[in-house]
Subunit: 413 residues, 2 copies
């Protein structure tokens, strides 16, 4: 097939699906879903499998100092590459598609181009970024954060795992993916990531393809609420300084306020000390995850939560400490790339719409490096970060074919 | 000193205090307080120390099948004994007095009687009951529960520790305190327990001695709230089934409703799964500790909490499972013994008042066996189940002397 016939080009979906199934045996959980926390033994096994496939294809694999992996299809020129990709790590109750779709979809596109003897003008790189989920080490999107040079690898190496047991640098070394290359050490002309929507909008509106124009901002904060342990039977309520009560009141407020402002608010972690049945809680560690597409409203939500906690503590006679874990402001994507996604979807006969991403993605880091957008495919019931996460085969296939044809345009620029 | 001079009899407070200090080295924590969870290595060491003291005094020590320990001062007759005592185990953040005051106070009274050559008509027994606190194994007040034959030792042996790692029978055997004697296998004429108040009433009213007429009822319940894990950024709030939110709403309600009904309500344990920063909680295990002196109101409080949880779950699309851990109805003590406590306090020149116990105590089990009451001494700031738990020396001494003179009357009946 010559470059004139590319309008008919299609990926080999069976080949993609076979790889996806094999990958998802790693960290598979009872009842479905996977657990491949970043830099765990499961992450190592997933990386080794990807490496094996790349080697079998005779392709070049690069690993940078933060463990990001890059597969390269050489171009006819040395012009800045076009990049696609995503991540292989998951949350603790991860689904089968969040991340691997982008990495294995990219790999499938390289193989499709190769077997059709298509050597594009620019090189094509497929990235597998380190620690996108950020559940074992914070912040999330760490590999792409390093790629855009927001932090040096050395700064990131010192980050402790959330259980305090290991440092990121040690784990990178242990699993064998602490590379030599400096992150972000090559030019990129465009970045396009394919991902499941992880929300219900495309399914509800029966639309095939989402062209993402924006990522909502994400603020993660850790609070320690400090009260006083006391006997649950003999300490009259007015004399209590109940850290558990304040945590509960804040949790209810986060949800209520986020909903009122049209954003999302979640208390994901709550750890109570001493956590005994007849002792008033002395201390609670909790986290808030606040998101909103508008910068001003996100800051208002965060400030309101902080203010509310102060009031609750004043009322109950507790106090709190506060640590900012993540502050990602909303990110605008390239309107031109989003338009191209809709155009190529239309050419392929797929319906599409512009949309905002509710989740954080490596693409939002790459948006600082080059013109960037994302392709979303529908998630059944909008479920993800859950073993029931599911996207239909035809939707996966439409998404990867759309990505193929978007990349084909960008690679020839 | 003959029996005619007993009105002047006083305990040796220094000797009592020295033993208390030595005991509280076992399980001592940084900053004060002790952790001697039932049937732990620390509990074993405390029991061994008590055993050593009893052997040094040449007294008889009996251990029953549930690990209750009894020190006996023989009487002139074989009439049913008078019993005092308490417990040596503590909560995770235990104070220095909750429990040991009753056991070592009783031992000091035996030694005082012996060195004054007083052999009472009835035998005096000092009990150290197993697992009064109930934090490592539920239910609490287990030793006295077995003593009143509410459960057989064999039934209790199968109880698992709250971390699910060991069974009670195995731990009793491991620490060497699974005795031969059947619990409750001897007659008791009266039981009087001395304990710190663990509340603020005596201190606030500047009263030396509390004569306890009643123990409020205690209901412990474990709930599992079951929702659905979901992505914290992409799952719109109306589509969530957030177990963490429902747990928080229930925690706030328990406090509010208990306060409104004049009782106590505490959520001491809250455990969230998967407990990840960007995942909506799928499951929460929490416990409620509800207390009230009136039976009807306690049942109303429990029913209202169950009903509220049902409503919260219906609204959020979660469900719950429920396990009754403890159901202790309010217990009335002997008015006659409470009157005797006030009379003997007055004779000794101490102020006193009748009061209700907010906490559960072994005495409430013994109330089913024989006429029973308790002597309370003031707790500074009403604090207990906390390393800051404190009672002044003069208050401890007044309390033990009051107990001595109450026992002297009962022993001669």
């Amino acid at each position: 097939m010559g470059m004139n016939d590319v309008s008919k080009l299609q990926i080999n979906f069976k080949r993609f699906k076979k790889r996806l199934d094999e990958l998802n045996k790693i960290g598979a959980m009872n009842g479905g879903g996977v657990c491949r926390l970043a830099l765990s033994d499961e992450d190592k096994a997933a990386r080794n499998l990807l490496k094996k496939w790349v080697q079998e294809l005779g392709l070049q694999l690069e690993v940078d100092q933060i463990g990001n992996m890059f597969i390269t299809l050489p171009g006819q020129t040395d012009a800045p590459c076009v990049m696609t990709g995503s991540h292989l790590d998951t949350v603790g109750t991860g689904g089968l598609f969040d991340g691997p779709l982008g990495v294995l979809g990219g790999l499938e596109i390289i193989e499709t181009l190769r077997e059709n003897d298509i050597q594009p003008k620019r090189p094509l790189k497929v990235a597998s970024f380190t620690n996108e989920e950020g559940v074992r080490f914070t912040p999330d999107m760490m590999g792409s954060l390093a790629f855009k040079k927001a932090n040096t690898p050395k700064e990131l190496y010192d980050i402790e795992s959330v259980d305090g047991k290991v440092k990121l640098g040690e784990e990178l070394e242990r699993i064998g993916y602490k590379g030599e290359m400096e992150p972000g050490d090559f030019p990129v002309s465009h970045f396009v990531e394919i991902h499941i929507e992880q929300g219900p909008i495309l399914e509800n509106e029966e639309i095939d393809i989402g062209a993402v124009t924006k990522v909502q901002g994400i603020f993660w904060t850790e609070y320690q609420i400090l009260g006083r342990a006391a006997h649950a039977g003999t300490t009259p309520i007015p004399l209590r300084n109940d850290a558990g009560l304040v945590a509960a009141q804040l949790t209810a407020f986060v949800r209520e306020k986020a909903e009122a402002l049209g954003g999302a608010g979640t208390v994901g972690i709550t750890e109570v000390s001493p956590n005994l049945i007849n002792v008033v809680p002395e201390k609670v560690r909790l986290t808030t995850d606040l998101r909103h597409p508008e910068k001003e409203t996100l800051h208002e939500l965060q400030n309101t939560v902080d203010q509310k906690l102060k009031e609750l503590c004043d009322t109950e006679g507790t106090r709190f400490e506060r640590k900012e874990l993540v502050r990602f402001e909303p990110v605008d994507f390239s309107p031109e790339v989003a338009d191209l996604i809709e155009k190529q979807a239309e050419t392929l006969g797929y319906s599409s719409r512009k949309m905002i991403s509710g989740a954080g993605h490596d693409a939002q880091m790459m948006a600082a490096v080059c013109p960037t957008s994302m392709i979303f495919v529908p998630s059944v019931d909008g479920i993800s970060h859950n073993i029931e996460e599911f996207t239909k085969d035809e939707d996966l296939e439409r998404g990867i074919n759309t990505l193929l044809h978007v990349l084909l345009v960008l690679l020839e620029r």
